[in-house]
Amino acid sequence: MVYKFMVYIALLVFGIGLTYNLSNWFRFSIGINGEGTTPWTRVRAAFKGIGGLFTKEQLSVMGNAFVQQILLQKHIREQDRLRWIMHMLIFTAFTFLLIFHALDKIIVTPLFNRFYLVMNPWLITAGLIVLAGLSIALWRRYILKVPRLKTSGMDLYTIIILFVIILSGLFMEITKLSSYDYYQKIWWVHIIACLFGLAYLPFSKMFHMITTPLSLLANAVMDENSDPANIATRQVMELDACTHCNTCSRHCSVGVARDNLGNDNILPSERMKFLKEYVADKNISTRKLRGIQQGITLCTNCDRCTVVCPAGINLRELWFSVREEMIRREQPVDLMMTPFSYFRGLNHQRIDQEQYDVPLASIKNVLTADCTSAPELADTPIVLAQEDDALTKALAHSGRTESFAYCFSCENCSTVCPVVVNYADSQQNLDLLPHQIIRSVALGLKDLATGSRMLWNCLTCYQCQEHCPQGVKVTDIFNKLKTVSVEDHK
């Protein structure tokens, strides 16, 4: 009686959780793809999309994805053999236990009438196989210490709940003959663990057994030209499909930056973890926002995360879309002024022009706020009282940049600069010319040196530096000035 009641409760919670998650995929949106959609348009688009899948071609693509990626888990096998063995052990044996043991009344009994063994060797073997897989999982996390593999509370819960289910099950089988009393106690542990796992499944990492196959199938048949409403839905669903397995972070091109800067959001897997919470509640602290902005902008768009993701998540598109949302928020992002913006520029036709300029204008305003342009300066004498020793010291300290002192204002640098040449009235457009920046440094005029539009439109083509007769490392100095300015505006 109690048992039945518990089963129904667990099933009910599971059902509610499942429905809730499913509704989130259509209600929530993240990034720019969901702009202007309603849950209703998203549901309609999804039905239309699914309806279009029943062609011979699409079915064969999905069939192939099902066998290769869902059953054989090709992506994992190619990346990490040990992890594949671990996952296959758990996946196959647990599926076996689910079908032939948990659901035996529905599946086994009708097939094999009165099939019963006191100590079922099949069950024990399957349990041991799962245990072996779980042991490898623990070993990878705590002894092997796979680089950048972070263990969240959820990762730990997943391992623990499986351990409890399997261990209690094994003990149950073993104690069946020896002590009925003991068996009964263990039976309760086993049942409670199983039912808890079931009820909590939609809210836990275990939910990936539904979403990851879905993501693999969806990504097999979708591309960037698919209906944006469907992409928006898929991108929310992909957050549930992520198992926080760390394959992406292991391969991330800029992982070294995270190791040095200590910002976990630079790693794709940690960004996914953040986004899972963010999608439901977008009110976050300024500190958190800055962290995620740095994380998602400090990305070379090398595609590695997308190529290796075992859940088939199209991370490239997710980052592109989420980045837009993050950089348009209240905080300006300094990395927008670096070549990390190249990919966004290359794709500027995919972004609404007005919105495209917003984050760029906001950071440019911050960085150039304190600069007076040279034409304006012509009428008023420069006040040297604002002299900044810290700047000259910072430059004098680092090898090549101390060369600013040798400048005698021959203006060669400004003559060869392709950016200067590009404007008929260059001072109006750039505030200062390169030689004036170098002079400002020598005079300790920090606001002038770091705030001119010339500095922030420098190509780093090194023409100025190459042509300086005095050996002033003009471009190196410019690079240093930018880092000083970025540091100041943090």
């Binding site: 800029v254 190791d259 768009n301 002024m337 913006s341 290359l346 190509l459």
Partner: protein, 295 residues
């Protein structure tokens, strides 16, 4: 046999795959053995103007990995090349920095001491393979083909660090083009920047610079631009394509990476050089191959 560890960087595998494909095809024919290292990550280039320490660590880790293998690096991208060279230069000048870098690298059991040489692909072809050996492999030379060679800033300059070629009057790339039978045209803006570093920061300025260069190529009568860097290639290929609609360009000068040109002259089929992977059509290049006279 020449042996290098191949450094492809971030852009090539994601957006300019034809460069890697063509470079590998050509290297195999010329007896260059390339060793891959999946542990290579970003060279640090985009980090240079915001955080020098992080930049150095990113670059140094790659150099240390090459050192561990005991191999010199063959770098395809000129920005990767420049950035690795600059990082090595900084670390070698400053023992305090070297210690900081090595403390960081020690976590992974790596160490930078500066023994692995950093070479750009074009330098490998010119200096290590040599024009003579390349010439021997040319079986389908071009004729009447006019090429504008684009050197790329970060390989040429700062020349005291990169030591790629004469920064004011370089010849390395032109000679590599000439060996295929093509003509390398003179064009005043040859050594100027392609504009890529400002794409995404100031798109109109970036395109102004690319447009000026293309107009200059056009005036010089070039049929194509030839580059040795993925950034330059994207700028003259994908961005030029965008400029056709955004700026109503009246001409198109398609661009390709050098191994595509060399490969064709060596008789390597177009599909092994990724000719169809370029955005602007360059398959017309094959029509410039000298037709052998039957009698």
């Amino acid at each position: 046999m020449m042996k290098y560890t191949l450094f492809v960087g971030c852009n090539i595998p994601a957006r300019v795959q034809q460069y890697e494909l063509a470079a590998r095809s050509v290297a195999a024919e010329l007896g260059i053995e390339l060793v891959d290292n999946p542990e290579f990550k970003c060279c640090g280039y985009p980090m240079q103007t915001s955080d020098n320490k992080t930049f150095l660590l990113m670059a140094a880790r790659n150099l240390a990995l090459a050192e561990k293998e005991g191999l010199d690096l063959m770098v395809l991208c000129k920005c990767c090349f420049g950035s690795l060279k600059k990082a090595a230069h900084q670390i070698q000048l400053d023992s305090r920095l070297r210690d900081e870098v090595n403390t960081f690298l020690a976590d992974e059991g790596l160490k930078y001491s500066g023994t692995a040489e950093i070479k750009h692909f074009l330098s490998v072809l010119y200096h290590d393979v040599g024009l003579k050996d390349i010439k021997e492999k040319i079986i389908d030379p071009f004729t009447d083909l006019k090429i504008a060679t684009h050197y790329g800033c970060h390989a040429l300059r700062p020349s005291d660090v990169t030591r790629f070629d004469d920064p004011v009057r370089p010849t390395l790339f032109d000679e590599l083009v000439k060996v295929t039978g093509a003509k390398s045209v003179d064009w005043p803006l040859q050594l100027e920047c392609c504009g890529a570093p400002l794409m995404g920061v100031n798109d109109s300025l970036s395109m102004d610079l690319a447009e000026k260069k293309l107009a200059d190529c056009n005036r010089a009568g070039a049929d194509y631009v030839c580059v040795g860097c993925p950034y330059c290639q994207m700028q003259f290929d994908r961005v030029q394509q965008m400029m056709v609609s955004e700026r109503e360009l009246s001409y198109k000068i398609p661009s390709f990476v050098y191994p595509q040109l060399l490969g064709l002259a060596m008789g390597i089929p177009g599909r092994s050089l990724g000719l169809e992977m370029n955005m602007l059509d360059i398959t017309t290049l094959e029509s410039f191959i000298e037709k052998e006279t039957e009698n």
